[in-house]
């Protein structure tokens, strides 16, 4: 009986020690989200696999928001990788001139930050005028640029799964900077605000979700270590406080 007691405790101990680090490792890899990171070092631009990545990048960098009176806005930040992917799709990037292309892109992003803003409404094309809004680009470092330069398409009929048919105007916009990139490797977020004089609507791109994910992993790991330690202590407690053989014999005699 006493031997069984010890064996049972050792098995609990063994499994507790075996399972805890494994589960912690699995959890960490499964819950770690991909961070949205803008490309700020143009030396990292690569043309390989860009064709297949185009729509994935569009999904990553698109944000949607409802403005007032059924007006919808969809904003696409033109990350340099996305621009390159569209050029690769269009077949306008050649391998032998790729270095020149990268240099041009670096210069372009130092001069301005590009977006596509799509205003859409189910029926009323008169509401699709970007000039009705004061559009401001800001980042966590306190920099702000107000939009002055944009080109809009003619209103076009579009269709989509969730909205049915609607009209949309696409605006190619760029926020001028002063010879340096608006986004750099330390930028934590950027946002676009749309102000019509009555309401202000904001769209944010957050570049630091990994930090919070790491913090949450730390919490999970601490909890797992704590639970494992308690289990180990309980198992040890069971072994230490086990009844002696003589006492067990006495109990069994008394039972009889």
């Amino acid at each position: 009986m006493n031997t069984h007691f010890v064996k049972f405790s050792v098995i609990i101990l063994f499994f507790a020690l075996l399972c805890s680090p494994m589960s912690a490792r699995v959890e960490a890899s499964e819950t770690e989200p991909e961070a949205l990171t803008p490309l700020t070092d143009f030396g990292e631009l690569r043309a390989e696999d860009m064709e297949a990545n185009y729509y994935g990048l569009v999904v990553d960098w698109t944000r949607r928001l409802s403005l007032n009176n059924n007006l919808q806005v969809e904003v696409l930040y033109l990350d340099p990788r996305l621009v390159l992917a569209s050029e690769v799709l269009a077949g306008t990037v050649a391998e032998d001139t790729f270095d020149d292309y990268v240099a041009e892109q670096a210069a372009a992003y130092a001069a301005s930050t590009p977006f596509v803003i799509k205003l859409s409404h189910d029926t009323n094309i008169d509401r699709l005028n970007l000039g009705d809004w004061k559009v401001t680009l800001a980042n966590d470092q306190g920099e702000e640029q107000v939009l002055t330069d944009y080109q809009g398409s003619e209103p076009q009929l579009r269709t989509s799964y969730s909205r049915g048919n609607f009209y949309q105007v696409d605006y190619d916009v760029s926020f001028p900077t002063s010879g340096y990139q608006f986004l750099d490797s330390s930028t934590k977020w950027m946002k676009l605000s749309f102000d019509n004089g009555r309401n202000v609507y904001e769209i944010t791109w957050d570049f630091q979700p990994q930090v919070s994910a790491q913090q949450s992993n730390v919490f999970e790991t601490v909890m797992k270590i704590l639970i494992t330690s308690v289990t180990v202590l309980l198992a040890l407690g069971l072994i230490v406080t086990r009844p002696k053989v003589s006492v067990l014999n006495e109990w069994s005699r008394a039972d009889r």
Partner: protein, 331 residues
């Protein structure tokens, strides 16, 4: 007073004439839909509404509530409004065949989409059938399944259960036959059960539950459903029954976003595209016919096969799925 009345009368006449003239500029097209109780059908109608607007035609439409007799009555209602042409997606080939005669009598051009009727396209006022080649798509899907089973088992061997579309429709017959044509070359690949799920998700779940009771783990290699909705229903049944060996073994047809997503997630093996985008081809065919141009009596639209079993297939499928997300497409 009489002068004023005359001027008013003339003005009314002018505005009436201009209204008639204006209306005559835009052709009136009628569309008869099978039913509006299925995402594929809703997307088809939305597509036709979109292209009607885009190509500058007026559109009237109704639905047959998934009943041939009701659809026939509803088609009659549409023809009474004297449209310039009729687009019909018939519920059943034989039951809706009288529509051809009705159009002949009324002198209204008829275009069928997705499913055909018994009459020959290109005869009388039945000017064109626009579809996707169900037989060819099902054949390619069958070939894809045979090759997958070869990769899996080292030989062309395996058991397949099938869930069919609505009984009697031309699409069901073609999807049934095409798949069998492909696997007929491989005697050890067998379809061990086939039953109709009528095209609906809930029915797909019920039929799959029945299959899972009849066939224990290890006896089914592939689940072939004629539509995504039934495939998604079958997947629910598989998950609920804990039959994990069948995850990633479903092949379906249609190509809706939810099904493509299951391919990307590894829950479906493959999806053959049969997107309901017939609006552009149908309305352009009618406009060409009304303009006096010749039109093809049978038009088959292209299709794709989405899967993750090769690097090329994976790239293509992921890219298409991302496009669906980016452009908010259902099909």
């Amino acid at each position: 007073m009489r002068k004023v009345s005359s001027v008013l009368l003339v003005l009314v006449l002018i505005s009436f004439m201009s209204a008639v003239g204006f209306a005559a500029d835009r052709p009136l097209i009628a569309f008869s839909q099978v039913a509006m109780n299925h995402p594929w059908r809703i997307a088809m109608t939305n597509d036709i509404v979109y292209w009607a607007e885009k190509l500058g035609v007026d559109l009237i439409w109704n639905e047959g509530e998934a009943d041939a007799a009701i659809q026939l009555t509803k088609v009659r209602d549409l023809l009474l409004q004297e449209p310039d042409a009729l687009i019909m997606s018939p519920f059943q080939a034989t039951a809706l065949d009288p529509v051809k005669e009705m159009c002949d009598e009324a002198g209204i051009p008829l275009v069928t989409i997705d499913r055909s009727i018994d009459s020959e396209p290109g005869t009388g006022m039945y000017i064109s059938f626009i579809g996707k080649d169900n037989t060819r798509i099902a054949r390619e899907l069958g070939e894809f399944v045979a090759n997958y089973l070869y990769e899996l088992n080292g030989e062309y061997k395996g058991n397949i259960v099938e869930i069919q579309e609505a009984v009697g429709s031309s699409a069901t017959i073609e999807r049934y036959n095409g798949f069998r044509e492909a696997i007929a070359e491989y005697p050890d690949i067998n379809i061990i059960a086939t039953q109709s799920g009528h095209g609906y998700r809930v029915e797909g779940t019920k039929v799959m539950e029945n299959y899972l009771e009849r066939f224990p783990a290890g006896t089914i290699d592939i689940v072939y459903t004629h539509s995504d909705e039934m495939g998604l229903g079958a997947l629910q049944a598989i998950k609920a029954a804990g039959r994990t060996e069948l995850i990633g073994r479903l092949v379906t047809m249609d190509g809706q976003r939810a099904a493509i997503e299951t391919v990307v997630n590894g829950e479906h093996l493959g999806v053959a595209d049969y997107a309901p985008h017939f609006g552009e081809a149908a309305i352009k065919t009618i406009l060409a016919y009304l303009a006096g141009d010749e039109v093809e009596p049978v038009q088959m639209l292209d299709f794709n096969l989405y899967h993750m079993t090769t690097p090329e297939g994976e790239n293509f499928t992921r890219n298409y799925y991302n496009r669906m997300l980016a452009e908010d497409l259902f099909y």
